[in-house]
């Protein structure tokens, strides 16, 4: 029986009410008396030396209050990369400065080189047009291969376009080479993991405010992690003391990674607010979002899979070029390395893995973590080459995977790529997938499609991913410059309701509903009496924010720990009230009782007593009932899944339609199955979008051709089917208190190779000898592949 409340209940979301009635408050909805507008002057060329910027005419225009250029920020710091990667030869990666405004050079179309502050947006925009900037245009560096061979650079001072050349695991390199050389069969595949634009529906927006009376700054901004933004602005970019800067991320309209990072616009509105003593607002339009939000993916990979005669995997070897764009965004160096290379053993017992990643600077927008971040790239490479190997060997693709799966009795399992998987059962997921997807009915459905003149294909995929990146002591050794814990404070108010301050930020994930389910279950109280506070650095102890499917596994664990402390203290208070010993107090359904007696006090009475501590033994019990916990996980969580997809391909036009999409995931324990299912749906939509329609195209001059919804294809309702989603076969995580695994990115990780495998299967069934098509598999690409087959 599904529960109605607490852990496991499909509780509808309380935050929905404000969103459904137009009462959400997103950053741009905040309107302050006397606020003025910032508009940025952005480069229209991809690579150029700034010869001069003449702002005099612009400064004299109506309403203009100030103009900033890179010169104004020459003395302050840059926006840093959060993870140091060392190259195979031991040298550290190249880290060119990323300034608030471009200084010396502009390095991608959209790179901001000046900002105008004016009374209105229109006035600021008029003035931007009046700025006379003179550039010496330089050849654009766009293609990664060309970039590595070029003798001119995105960043002249480092003398190369290669950020690093990383090997993982370097000690396995020789053995992997040897295994591939001697293998019975080697399958090779060259593939592109296409660049994506995250496209959260809410464009970025930042509002800077400065109070000269207290020397305090406030930044409202579209952020997935306000504390990290505060830290970066304080410690690296502007030197504002952390206790003088409040960062508030109110309702945020989606992130998908793109709002993890600190962007220069945030620093600019703060600097302008101080200079002018005015509130300064900047709101991106969609074009700016396309040009300047950190993009995702953009890997070019060659992968080889060595097998023995029985189909046992012997080794995976990959060579990848990963585009980091023109500047290092905060997590851009971790994404193609530790979030990618460490997953390159997949769900398999393969003994050898070697991954080489060259990160490349280009004159394009920065590239960073986007939903899945490194794990989709790993899964795509693995699951495409495995499918190709199955075809080459004449084996069933599901059987080939099963043959190499880690088995349930092998946990904890040390993968050949350096991770320790704690739990899972990949065969059980595959069984469940075959069942709920009605694989047995596929041939009949194929015949129906063929009767309509369409080719039908069945594609399959198995994935494992790593969520809730941790623990701090390990990531520190590997180069992370931040800790990866999270924090929560549980405050029981005197009247018995609770405020829970959490470091995770909710921008669609449903924390305001799900976290109270956990707290209410532990305390035995009504979830409605628990409120979540998030997104405001002045109200929350600390937090590392929301990304990498970490909120519940990491921050939720901190909530559990803090709630446990509350229970312990409340028991002391109850014991005092009931004149019993602490150890004899039990908590059930919100009532503290003395074991073996009928003496009890309610949770509410204990809460009130905590704040009216008459007769408290103050040497034993402090007044108040508020506890904080920081939680640093022992390991990642390892969700896994088995996906399948059925597509129909129109052989005349190349148009692909996804007819059925099934996701069977192991998320461990599930707190709110409705929310978890919704997370998978969203990931599937984005993954199918990547596979079929989403096309980020720069031309050879570094112009972004797909810079609006007129040319960048966002998946629409009529591009997608109803999905079949199942997470009934969970194996609890063994090392966090809730036994939960991350669920936010799974859909986007598992689906792209599934769709590609299905399309290849469809084309092969139609007699077209097509072994690979790069994503997005647009009608034109599919048609071309068929024609050339």
């Amino acid at each position: 029986m599904p529960k109605d409340t607490g852990i496991g209940a499909a509780t509808t979301r309380r935050e929905d009410v404000r969103f459904l009635t137009g009462r959400g408050q997103y950053t741009d909805d905040i309107q302050t008396q006397g606020e003025c507008a910032a508009v940025f002057a952005r480069s229209t060329i991809a690579n150029g030396r700034i010869k001069s910027i003449d702002t005099s005419a612009a400064a004299a225009m109506p309403g203009v209050l100030a103009i900033f250029t890179g010169e104004d920020f020459a003395e302050v710091g840059g926006n840093p990369a959060g993870w140091l990667i060392n190259s195979r030869d031991g040298t550290p990666m190249h880290e060119p400065k990323r300034p608030v405004l471009a200084h010396g050079k502009v390095r991608h179309v959209g790179d901001a080189y000046a900002a105008v502050i004016a009374e209105t947006v229109a006035q600021a925009r008029d003035a931007v047009e009046a700025i006379e900037a003179d550039f010496e245009e330089l050849p654009a560096i766009v293609d990664m291969k060309d970039a590595l061979a070029a003798d001119h650079y995105v960043h002249d001072e480092i003398g190369t376009n290669q950020c690093f050349d990383w090997g993982w695991i370097e000690d396995n390199r020789a053995a992997t080479d040897e295994a591939i050389k001697n293998a019975h069969h080697v399958t090779t595949l060259e593939l592109v993991n296409n660049r994506l634009v995250p496209n959260a529906m809410e464009p970025r927006c930042s509002i800077g405010h400065y109070n000269p009376g207290t020397d305090e700054y406030t930044l409202h901004t579209t952020s997935q992690n306000p504390h990290l933004t505060r830290l970066l602005i304080s410690a690296f970019v502007m030197g504002i003391p952390e206790n003088k800067l409040t960062v508030i991320a109110p309702d945020v309209g989606g992130g998908f990674g793109s709002k993890i990072y600190h962007y220069g616009e945030e620093a600019l509105v703060l600097a302008a607010a101080k200079k002018l003593g005015r509130t300064i607002k900047w709101t991106a339009d969609r074009t700016e979002a396309f040009l300047t939000d950190a993009h995702g993916r953009d890997h070019v990979t060659k992968i080889e899979l060595a097998l023995d005669a029985e189909g046992n995997f012997l080794a995976f070897r990959t060579e990848t070029m990963a585009n980091v764009g023109a500047y290092l965004s905060n997590f851009s160096t971790a994404t193609p390395t530790f979030l990618h290379g460490t997953l390159m053993a997949g769900n398999y017992t393969v003994p050898l893995v070697y991954v080489n990643v060259k990160a490349v600077f280009t004159n394009t927008a920065p590239v960073d973590a986007y939903r899945g971040a490194g794990r989709p790239e790993a899964t795509f490479s693995l699951e495409r080459v495995i499918d190709k190997a199955a075809r080459e060997l004449g084996m069933d693709p599901i059987e080939l995977r099963r043959k190499n799966f880690v088995k349930p009795d092998q946990y904890p399992f040390a993968s050949a790529a350096g991770l320790e998987y704690d739990s899972g059962n990949y065969d059980a997921l595959m069984d469940q997938m075959e069942k709920v997807a009605d694989k047995a009915g596929f041939e009949a459905r194929r015949k129906e499609s063929e009767a309509k003149g369409l080719l039908r294909g069945f594609g399959v995929n198995a994935y494992i991913e790593a969520c809730g990146i941790a623990p701090s002591n390990l990531v520190g050794v590997l180069g992370s410059r931040v800790g990866l814990y999270d924090a929560a404070t549980v405050r029981v108010n005197a009247t018995g309701n609770l405020s829970v301050m959490v470091g995770a930020h909710s921008h669609g994930q449903g924390h305001e509903t799900v976290f109270p389910q956990v707290v209410a279950e532990m305390l035995g109280i009504d979830a409605e009496s628990v409120d979540i506070v998030h997104g405001d650095t002045s109200k929350i102890p600390f937090g590392m924010g929301t990304y990498g499917s970490r909120s519940l596994a990491v921050c939720g664990s901190a909530v559990v720990r803090a709630t446990e402390k509350i229970i312990n203290k409340a028991k002391k208070i109850a014991a005092h009230m009931l004149e019993a010993s602490d150890e004899d107090i039990t908590l059930k359904d919100g009532v503290f009782s003395v074991a073996g007696t009928d003496k009890s006090v309610s949770f509410g009475e204990v809460a009130l007593k905590a704040y009216i501590p008459h007769e408290f033994p103050l040497e034993d019990i402090e007044p108040g009932l508020e506890e904080t916990a920081f939680y640093d996980p022992a390991n990642f969580t390892y969700p896994s899944g088995a996906y399948c997809c059925e597509v129909e391909v129109d052989p005349e036009t190349g148009k692909v339609r996804v007819d059925r999409m099934t996701a069977v995931d192991d998320f461990g324990n599930v707190i709110n199955p409705m929310v978890v299912t919704g997370q998978v749906h969203g990931g599937l939509g984005q993954g199918i979008g990547q596979a079929l329609v989403e096309n980020t195209t720069y031309d050879e001059n570094g112009q972004l051709l797909s810079a609006s919804y007129m040319d960048y294809t966002m998946p629409r309702a009529d591009d997608l089917p109803f999905y079949i989603v199942d997470h009934s076969k969970g194996n609890p995580c063994t090392h966090n208190p809730l036994g939960v695994k991350g669920c936010g990115e799974a859909g986007a990780i598992g689906s792209p190779p599934t769709v590609v495998n299905a399309v290849i299967d469809a084309l092969q069934s139609g007699g077209k000898n097509v072994t690979h098509i790069d994503m997005p598999m647009t009608p034109h690409r599919v048609w071309s592949a068929m024609k050339n087959a």
Binding site: D285, E652, T653, V693, Y709, T713, T778, P779, S784
Partner: protein, 262 residues
């Protein structure tokens, strides 16, 4: 957007007068013009909104023709033309999205002559007559290449008259992002001729595929064009499809339109 004034005249005469001002521009439904203005790609001094001109509204049947006011929205055409000219109603019902169809107008679409728009294919494929405040222009003379028409400065499309064919159909293969036509083909069979108009494909904008018209005049089946090929020398190549692909699609969509025509 740059600053401009908006006038909302109630008659064609007042609209024409208002458009006499320097750098004045007509505003139909605005579904293309407003995004263009947002990008500051146009700087009119004044927009003359045609939405309040009642004589440019609505649909009327006249003998073998259907006459549609220039300020009639796509939604209205979709809702009101189905009984007399179903292919035209279907075309209108698939332009843009519902909210766009509630604002966008036939006159605005034809005057803009976007090379991937749907209405130009219907007008050219039907041999329609474009009626302006000063004259009547045959569709064959009206479309003069991408974003170019026979309209003079300040001239307004007040109505469009479509001869109703025996059979017709429009097949749109969408450009997946914009949902405009990557290739759209309008086929109309009249008692004495067949017309085939192609949109989305050519650098010259909407155009007729005369070889197909001849073949279909003899035999109105998809098979009749099986032996034809579409020259790709002046077709559009862009990130959504190259000229060769578009040429292929023209033929496929033409065949499907012929089969579906009713």
């Amino acid at each position: 957007m740059y600053a401009f004034d908006i006038e909302r005249p109630a008659s064609v005469a007042d609209a024409v007068a208002a458009l006499g001002a320097e750098d004045a521009q007509a505003l139909g439904g605005g579904q293309t013009l407003i995004p263009t203005l947002k990008q500051r790609l146009a700087a009119p001094s004044k927009l003359v909104s045609l939405g309040a001109v009642s004589e440019m509204q609505g649909v009327a049947s006249e003998a073998d023709n259907i006459r549609i006011g220039g300020a009639t929205t796509h939604a209205t055409v979709a809702a009101q033309v189905g009984g007399t000219y179903p292919a035209l109603a279907d075309l209108a019902a698939n332009i843009g999205d519902p909210a766009v169809r509630n604002r966008g107008t036939i006159g605005g679409s034809l005057a803009n002559n976007d090379p991937a728009a749907c209405y130009p294919a219907a007008a050219l494929g039907s041999g329609a007559t474009i009626i302006t405040n000063t004259r009547q222009i045959a569709a064959d003379d009206f479309f003069q290449g991408m974003f170019t028409t026979a309209l003079d400065e300040g001239e307004i499309i007040t109505a469009v008259s479509f001869p109703v064919p025996e059979k017709a159909n429009y097949q749109k293969f969408v450009q997946p992002a914009s949902r405009f036509a990557l290739v759209g083909v309008f086929v109309a069979k009249y008692s004495d001729s067949v017309r085939v108009a192609v949109t989305g494909a050519s650098n010259d904008g909407v155009h007729r595929w005369t070889a197909a018209e001849e073949a279909l005049s003899t035999e109105f089946t998809a098979n009749a064009i099986a032996g034809l090929s579409v020259p790709d020398d002046n077709l559009i190549s862009d990130l959504h499809g190259n000229a060769e692909y578009r040429a292929h699609l023209v033929k496929v969509m033409t065949g499907r339109a012929v089969t579906a025509a009713s």
